[in-house]
Symmetry: C2
Subunit: 199 residues, 2 copies
């Protein structure tokens, strides 16, 4: 262990280890696969998602093996990360509090399954952005398996694209999660663009 001279002896309060990263994205992961030979689909809410690689683009999602969606992702090797808007907060929370074992969660939460372009898993039509993924790697850390998927296609509502056809985050109005609560971004208070400090 390399311990360099620190600038200060100041330490903060040491807490019990926990997943204290802020903010997190609240996303809907949709998937389809076979359960006992019967094809099933599901949609799962999670905040433990992150970008894992740039080229090719990859996204990671952490899923408990006990979740109904876990088996669908393992059997199909596919999933879709759907980015919801703030207006979808109730449906997002509902999908995080029901199990696909109770029935078709799309119907239970009032969501619409739409076809993907590159994978068999359905999209959530109401979400402004959907990342179609193929599993490239799985890491089992303990309570959760981390599925790392290559983003093989992105679908976006025309309504969230700018004049150049690029995604405009202000139009997306994405849903954030932290501290047990859902939050919006304050999109009227842009703090600066990447690189602003050197201008």
């Amino acid at each position: 262990m390399i311990r360099l001279a620190a600038d200060t002896a100041h330490t903060k309060k040491v807490l019990r280890p926990g997943p204290s990263l802020y903010p997190l994205p609240a996303v809907l992961v949709s998937c389809a696969g076979e359960v006992d030979g019967v094809p099933r689909r599901n949609v799962l809410t999670l905040a433990w998602a992150g970008i894992a690689c740039g080229e090719p683009p990859m996204v990671s999602v952490a899923v408990r093996p006990t979740r109904f969606s876990h088996g669908l992702i393992v059997s199909s090797g596919e999933f879709v990360v759907n980015v919801p808007s703030v207006a979808m907060c109730r449906a997002v929370d509902l999908c995080g509090n029901l199990s696909g074992r109770d029935g078709d969660k799309f119907a239970l939460a009032g969501l619409t399954a739409a076809p993907a372009s590159q994978v068999g898993a359905p999209l959530v039509a109401e979400c402004p952005i959907s990342l179609e993924c193929r599993v490239r790697h799985t890491f089992s850390g303990g309570s959760h398996d981390l599925f790392i998927g290559e983003i093989v296609a992105v679908q976006a509502d025309e309504a969230v694209l700018d004049a150049n056809g690029k995604i405009d985050i202000v139009k997306v109005d994405p849903l954030c999660y932290g501290g047990g609560f859902y939050w919006p971004l304050e999109l009227g208070r842009r703090l600066g663009d990447y690189g602003f400090s050197r201008k």
Copy 2:
């Protein structure tokens, strides 16, 4: 590939695959290690971080192998994820636009290195939360390596703790990233707590 009957034929616009996840956390990753036998420290800005496991808690960070910090993390097997507040936006951007090869980035960005409790890598004293990590797994996806670290300790400023000693996200005022810009959370507009849709 299992393709179920969709509820709709509606599709969105298909875009080029990219890392279109919103929002992302803007964090400072600090590390220390040896370079040509000389101990060095560094601090790196990145938004490609996510929670990878709950028990034990783990966090992932995606780092290009060409980055100065990459070698420090590989040689030490340790890193610290520091969660900055909105007020630190300029220092965060500066650390994302300088290289540790140019000098000590803590000094260049006006940041203070403080000792960690469980790892040799320094903390960023100005950040309200620091997650001390030991690398448990590395996945090379292409342009980036994903370091998955077990969070072996959390340090938090007393100023961001509530009366029960738990982290209060409103007091943290975390820095978000998306669409090439930094953003605050709108902390005066809490949308609901986890589970609110079933109450």
